[in-house]
Symmetry: C2
Subunit: 313 residues, 2 copies
């Protein structure tokens, strides 16, 4: 099927077109063409990142948030970024199957993406998938990551609101993940809030917040028991509050433009290197140039400066 | 003092000139000029990397190797790459001071370099320092790293022979560091070979070697007790054997050319991005372009392709 036709069907809200287009941006270099075609239809979905260590109940939380939004008849997309393959591990797969039950619901689109093996990195693959679900007509898109490493931080750079999920009894983990991760939270979610240690973890989060840079807005802490559907409505309200805060403080557009700038720079960076490298490979005998430097007929910097003059205007 | 004069004094073997030039490549952007001036005088030093986990006795080993080479009246340079500052930690500082005693010897040049805070990364700073010591007239240059992380692997990409130092009783550590690190060893050095567990670690190294890819040459294992100067002469012989192996198998020049290629690519990469970014900043209103994409007047890829056409010939 040609891409133009797939995009047309995507814009009409056909699920199969969304799935096929995401596969295309994941596995081929058609992403440029696809993104160009859907660009006029972007910017309507609200994007929420859900991150936190394995075992804190991110999938269950996503599941409940999605169901709640379906009550309001919202169209929802979920992208679950798994460490390696979408079929890698027991717990992850189990969660995924549970979530998959939602998939019989026409108003929900669910997709697992492996965090490795993408041509342009997981961040750009996620960013493209978000755009496709946006054009598909989703009101909300959830990006759920497994773990809290560097690639998760990259992924949540694509979102409007980031939820960092924690559970009681993980004080040490907080210490371990705090560097660079606590700062990304727009809302802290303490899941399994019926377990011992809730007060302690709340206190620890507050302490870490007070230690950090003074901010305009303190990220609120939402207590939930996801498996029993407790606190979900209130958490959705907190997400709405954050959106309202962004809009009222002129941050909604500003943040999205910042993300756009980063995205453009990354694309420009990759394309520039690609183009320069192919120009050089076609026109210059690099092996000879290396031999010339090695034989002291010239030096590294003279060669490089000369090559760059040939490439750059 | 002007750089030309410093280089002239370096080529005459003046220690102070070597020290000042290394400071200049570390802290300023004069490295291009300096490397160009010394390029005709490079390629004479033999470069040895010494790496391994903290506490395995790398400094003591370096110290003894240097003393042995001084017996043969060789001129020796030592670059010790420390995790952060050269004055960061007790043990490291202690080792450094011990090594510093050698510094009253005119035939030895010792320098600590912090592994962070270099404009072009530690690998390029080390590479420049090696070149300066090469032009200074060193017969041997040792690069000693602390730890076995990614930046250490980067650093040893600059060397002819890599020693990976291990000690008995670190089986678990071997497991932990094996990925990507065991392969860099041209010679395994088991230090503290009077301790329990020597046979076991030798066996573990051999097992890991047999698990790995089949190689032309198996890296030998050298047992030493560095503090008592035992096994040092034999280790130097193994280094000579490795050099002989490289020369006889046409790998000496090939490896150096490969390193040169990597270095050129890195420099070209950095300069290209720098140049493109300054052209764009001077000639285009990036903020306006981002606004245009955000307002759907155009799309990311059209903007980027257009910009790249303006930059690249």
């Amino acid at each position: 099927m040609i891409i133009e036709e797939l995009v047309e069907r995507l814009l009409k809200g056909e699920t199969i077109a969304a799935a096929r287009l995401i596969s295309l941006v994941e596995n081929t270099d058609e992403n440029e063409k696809i993104i160009k075609l859907i660009s006029p239809y972007l910017g309507n979905a609200y994007i929420i990142g859900i991150t936190g260590a394995p075992g804190v109940g991110k999938s269950t939380l996503t599941d409940k948030l999605v169901r709640e939004l379906r009550q309001e008849n919202k169209k929802v997309g979920v992208i679950a970024v798994d460490p390696t393959s979408p079929f890698s591990g027991g717990a992850i797969l189990g969660d995924r199957i549970r979530l998959q039950k939602l998939a019989t619901d026409e108003g929900v689109f669910i997709r697992s993406m492996a965090s490795r093996g993408h041509l342009g990195g997981i961040s750009s693959a996620t960013s493209d998938a978000i755009k496709i679900l946006d054009a598909y007509g989703c009101d909300y898109i959830f990006i759920e990551t497994v773990g809290v490493g560097q690639s998760e931080i990259e992924v949540v750079k694509n979102v409007d609101t980031t939820l960092l999920v924690l559970i009681p009894g993980m004080g040490d983990e907080i210490q371990a993940i705090k560097a660079g991760v606590m700062e990304i939270a727009d809302i802290f979610v303490v899941n399994k809030a019926d377990k011992d240690g809730v007060e302690r973890i709340m206190l620890e989060i507050e302490m870490l917040q007070n230690l950090g840079e003074r901010k305009e807005r303190m990220a609120p802490i939402s207590k939930v028991i996801a498996k029993d559907n407790i606190g979900i409505e209130k958490l959705l309200q907190e997400i709405q509050n954050h959106k309202k805060y962004l809009l009222e403080n002129d941050l909604f557009d500003t943040n999205r433009k910042k993300r756009l700038e980063l995205e453009m720079k990354q694309i420009a960076h990759d394309k520039l290197l690609q183009k320069a490298s192919s120009i050089l490979q076609e026109n210059y005998d690099l092996k000879q140039l290396i031999d010339d430097v090695y034989d002291k007929k010239t030096d590294v910097y003279s060669v490089v400066n000369n090559l760059i003059d040939k490439v750059v205007k």
